[in-house]
């Protein structure tokens, strides 16, 4: 009897853990979006308050995501290319770093770089970042809601599946 109860416990706990693991994979997108938002905030600070160039600012923000590092390297090696072109090249050359972003979000990022690369006064940088932040915050909210719903469903399904399996076996 004790052995049966122990076995039942193992199956239930195991399935709950599996549910958590599956649910956490959904968090990757949310984490990527949050990193992108943090990186853009760092980029804005670097450009406005530290007077860095766009490439230096992107390199400065690279601790918030490889996406910034990729773009910084591309600008350093192609100073003639505009911000929008850099975003496109970065996507072509390193799709992995954009894996957790939708096409719309990639376009917003490209537009942000284009606006930043053409900004003539610091106010334009603030505005470009504000436009991007509006979009990305809306994406974060949507992703957060979706992740919350889906993770609850996955966890419940795994737990129920585990229970059913345990009952059948035991």
């Amino acid at each position: 009897m004790i052995f049966k109860l122990f076995f039942l416990g193992v199956i239930v706990v195991g399935s709950a853990c599996l549910g958590n693991v599956l649910a956490s994979s959904l968090e990757e997108r949310l984490t990527a979006l949050k990193s992108l938002a943090n990186g853009v905030a760092s980029l804005k600070n670097a450009l406005i308050y530290q007077g860095m160039s766009l490439a230096e600012g992107l390199a400065f923000a690279s601790r918030d995501g490889e996406i910034f590092d990729t773009c910084a390297k591309l600008i350093f090696s192609n100073p003639r290319a505009s911000g929008g072109e850099i975003a496109q090249r970065a996507y072509k050359e390193n799709k992995e770093v954009f894996a957790n972003l939708t096409e719309d979000e990639r376009i917003f990022f490209g537009e942000l770089l284009e606006r930043l690369s053409r900004a003539a006064v610091p106010e334009q940088i603030g505005e470009a970042v504000a436009i991007f932040s509006r979009e990305i915050v809306s994406s974060i909210n949507k992703a957060s809601e979706e992740q919350h719903k889906r993770s609850r469903v996955i966890r419940s399904m795994c737990l129920l599946g585990g229970l059913a399996f345990a009952i059948i076996i035991v």
């Binding site: 007077g51 860095m52 160039s53 100073p79 003639r80 505009s82």
Partner: protein
């Protein structure tokens, strides 16, 4: 330097047209819908390439490393300085904010001026600019393009390294980032550089924090700088500076220089001309106007 800039920042077509012809050019001029010209040994050369408005804008953005905003204040004054001390003069539509010039946009002309380094160019002036081996406060007067910044740079290097002059600690207040050229020029081993710092603030700052024995700065002439210069000289610091002008007489008509010379701040005035080619020392006078060097000498010959 120039070749790198052309290859890296100019549109490919223009870079190919310029090729290696402009490698030693002193200046490149790009004007909207006009042929590109460059100046070599004081002579104008034209190439068969017409720059469009869009290309001019692309060049500005590329030269500014897509950070035109960080050059905003410089651009509002009509120029910005990029790597290696290359000064980019701009013309276009001025954006005003009341009386203040806020920015320049819709660029129609660009003028890329290459800085030069000519080590030893100050050698021939040593006897006139020193007393018992020590550099005296000096003002270098010259029209544009005749080598006043080059001469200033070499005087600083020479004093800082103790070459001919007695070695002294130097501080360069490099408002336009042209003297040090982003530290790409040799200014000697005892030189500190304040880059991008307004002259009046920089001179006071340097005095307080870097304890210089010699202060050097380029293109003085604003009344606001007079107080800082006086403060520096009264603290026992030697000043080496430059000014735009064709002659001592012309300079003396301007209030700033009139006051500067009246206060006996400047001990030597060097006037450059093109009489014997670029970098000719036309005359050297003391602060009161007494001639010390009466006949023009070419400084280029002593440069290595």
């Amino acid at each position: 330097m120039l070749k790198t800039i052309v290859e890296k920042y100019m549109p490919q077509g223009l870079a190919q047209s310029l090729g290696s012809r402009c490698e030693n050019a002193e200046e490149i001029r790009l004007r909207m819908d006009k042929k590109v010209t460059f100046y070599l040994n004081g002579k104008e050369h034209e190439i068969e390439y017409i720059t469009s408005h869009k290309e001019l804008e692309q060049i500005v953005f590329a030269l500014a490393e897509h950070s035109v905003h960080s050059f905003q204040e410089d651009i509002a004054q009509g120029f910005f300085t990029v790597g290696g001390g290359v000064r980019v003069g701009v013309a276009g539509k001025v954006v005003r904010d009341g009386d203040r010039i806020r920015a320049i946009r819709a660029f129609t002309s660009l003028n890329l001026r290459m800085p030069r380094e000519a080590k030893g160019i100050s050698r021939k002036l040593y006897p006139y600019l020193s007393s018992k081996g020590e550099i005296l406060s000096t003002l270098i007067i010259s029209p544009p393009q005749l080598g006043k910044t080059t001469l200033l740079r070499d005087i600083v290097r020479s004093v800082s390294d103790g070459e001919l002059f007695t070695a002294k600690k130097c501080t360069v207040v490099d408002e336009r980032c042209e003297i040090a050229g982003g530290m790409s020029f040799d200014l000697g081993k005892r030189t500190d550089v304040l880059s991008g710092c307004p002259k009046s603030a920089g001179l006071s700052m340097a005095l307080r924090s870097l304890s210089p024995e010699v202060l050097a700065t380029d293109e003085i002439g604003c009344l606001g700088e007079l107080e800082a210069i006086n403060e520096a000289v009264n603290s026992g610091v030697t000043l080496v500076c430059t000014a735009h002008g064709a002659s001592r007489e012309e300079i003396c008509e301007r209030l700033f220089f009139k006051k500067l010379l009246e206060q006996n701040v400047i001990k030597r005035v060097v006037v450059l001309s093109a009489k014997l080619g670029r970098s000719t020392a036309e005359m050297v006078t003391d602060g009161n106007g007494t001639l010390i060097l009466k006949h023009p000498i070419s400084l280029k010959e002593s440069a290595s």
